[in-house]
């Protein structure tokens, strides 16, 4: 098993499928909670604190997502991980790319980040590096193609896609009601249609599960006794009350 130190870590490259090393020299936007370790002198600034406001106005133009990102600055090697998801980096050279917001792990400061017209996606423009995670390795598809929304990681160099309903299997009343009310039954009735030139990035589809913290807590419950469960229950109730305030 290889062990690493600051001199042997890769520079701005993958350490493994699931970990990426950023050689921090200037400010970089990083998704909150994805730092697993670092060497060197690094500081993390939350967006919205006065020092970095000017930088944000230029680069981060997606207010709905601003609380999910921080700025790492200083000098050192920052190791990022995303819950065992695959991580890949993409170099932009005066180009644009759109990534599912919750899979965007970071981007260098000269890239401009804006909300895409597709809800839940961010469009990145300019020159620099983007980091994104995916459920399983990324697969690239040429256009034209139709993709399940849950399986899209992003797209590059192509026009914004549109929804398409496949009426061939809207073949009973229940699925018709589903289409009319926007609730799809299997996901296969409603697809995203990509046309023209460009590349689509796909991954294995995913369920919107709870956070890993929640999963961890739930997995520990069987170890608790009755009294412990009662005190946990009281603590949860108290936490909910304080958060509602």
């Amino acid at each position: 098993m290889t062990s690493y130190n600051p001199n042997t870590l890769p520079k701005n490259d993958n350490l493994s499928r699931f970990a990426f090393v950023v050689d921090v020299e200037e400010e970089i936007f990083i998704r909150k909670g994805k730092m697993v370790a670092f060497y060197g002198q690094l500081q993390f600034e939350s967006l919205g604190s006065s020092v970095v406001d000017i930088l944000i106005k230029e680069a981060f133009n997606a207010p709905a997502y601003i609380q999910h990102f921080i700025i790492a600055k200083g000098h050192g090697q920052l190791i990022l991980g995303d819950n065992g998801n695959d991580i890949a980096s993409y170099d932009l050279d005066n180009a644009n790319m759109t990534i599912k917001a919750k899979h965007l792990l970071g981007f260098t400061k000269d890239i401009v980040c804006q909300e895409s017209t597709m809800i839940g996606f961010l469009t990145l423009m300019g020159t620099g590096k983007i980091l994104a995670s995916s459920n399983g390795p990324v697969h690239f598809l040429d256009l034209p193609c139709r993709v399940d929304e849950q399986a899209i990681l992003g797209w590059a160099d192509c026009p914004s896609p549109s929804y398409r309903y496949d009426y061939a299997h809207v073949n009973d009343l229940l699925s018709l009601v589903g289409v009319m009310t926007g609730i799809t039954l299997s996901g296969e009735e409603k697809q995203i249609d990509f046309r023209g030139e460009g590349t689509v990035l796909i991954q294995s589809s995913e369920l919107a599960l709870g956070s890993p913290t929640l999963g961890h807590l739930l997995s520990q419950l069987p170890a608790l006794g009755r009294n412990e469960l009662n005190s946990l229950s009281a603590a949860v109730a108290q936490q909910i009350t304080s958060q509602n305030r």
Binding site: L141, P144, C145, R146, E188, S204
Partner: protein
């Protein structure tokens, strides 16, 4: 005939040239070309299939893709494995069957038929359905697993014991029965966590996943 190809551990593609492929509902990731989709149930007829439909309701409904083009399949980040079937029968939990086509004859088996009381016990122990899908003939199927699927060879000299929760499929001439590991520690509520195992004997392959579900 349809061509199955592994793209990565969590994605596969099926190339169609006028044929149809059956796949788990919700597993279609993307497609290119002229392909139409409709809903279906497990192929085949008979009382058992009817019973299965009633019992499982929508749960095991399938999507049929038919036409000319390429369909990509994956499901919730589960691992995908393509199994070659050569003039034999594969038994798969219906829930883990990702894709198959008309090259194989499908049926459903009530586990009580195969292993008697033991088969029912297995269904009860693992919390999986009592119905298992059987696929017979020569062709390919794709299955899902939590973590990669691992095929363990079974020979008459070397039976294999598996945790019911890790079991996903088996093929060949195999018989299975439950073995229990009862000793005084189990009896006073100090079970090791491995009180039941399924023993496979005969000639074939058992597939397990790297997870206890």
């Amino acid at each position: 005939m349809p061509r199955y190809q592994q793209i990565n551990e969590k994605l596969m593609e099926v190339s169609l040239n006028g044929e149809a492929v059956f796949a788990k509902k919700g597993a279609m990731i993307s497609y290119q070309g002229n392909v139409v989709f409709r809903r279906s149930f497990l192929a085949g007829n008979g009382v058992q299939d009817f019973a299965m439909r009633v019992l499982t309701s929508e749960g095991y409904a399938l999507m049929v893709a038919e036409g000319t083009g390429t369909v990509y399949y994956g499901y919730n980040g589960f691992f995908v494995s393509i199994i070659q079937v050569v003039n034999e029968t594969v038994f798969v939990e219906s829930d883990t069957l990702l894709a198959f086509d008309a090259r194989l004859r499908t049926g459903t088996m009530f586990l009580g038929n195969q292993g008697g009381v033991q088969g029912i016990l297995r269904g009860a122990v693992s919390g999986q359905g009592l119905f298992t899908t059987t696929l017979q003939g020569t062709g390919e199927i794709a299955i899902l697993s939590d973590g990669n699927a691992i095929g363990l060879p079974v020979t008459p000299q070397q039976p294999v014991f598996v945790d019911p929760d890790a079991y996903i499929a088996h093929k060949g001439e195999l018989s299975s029965n439950i073995v229990t590991d009862l000793n005084w520690k189990n009896l006073i509520g100090q079970a090791s966590g491995e009180s039941y195992q399924v023993k496979f004997t005969g000639q074939g392959t058992v597939y397990i996943q790297a997870s206890e579900r």
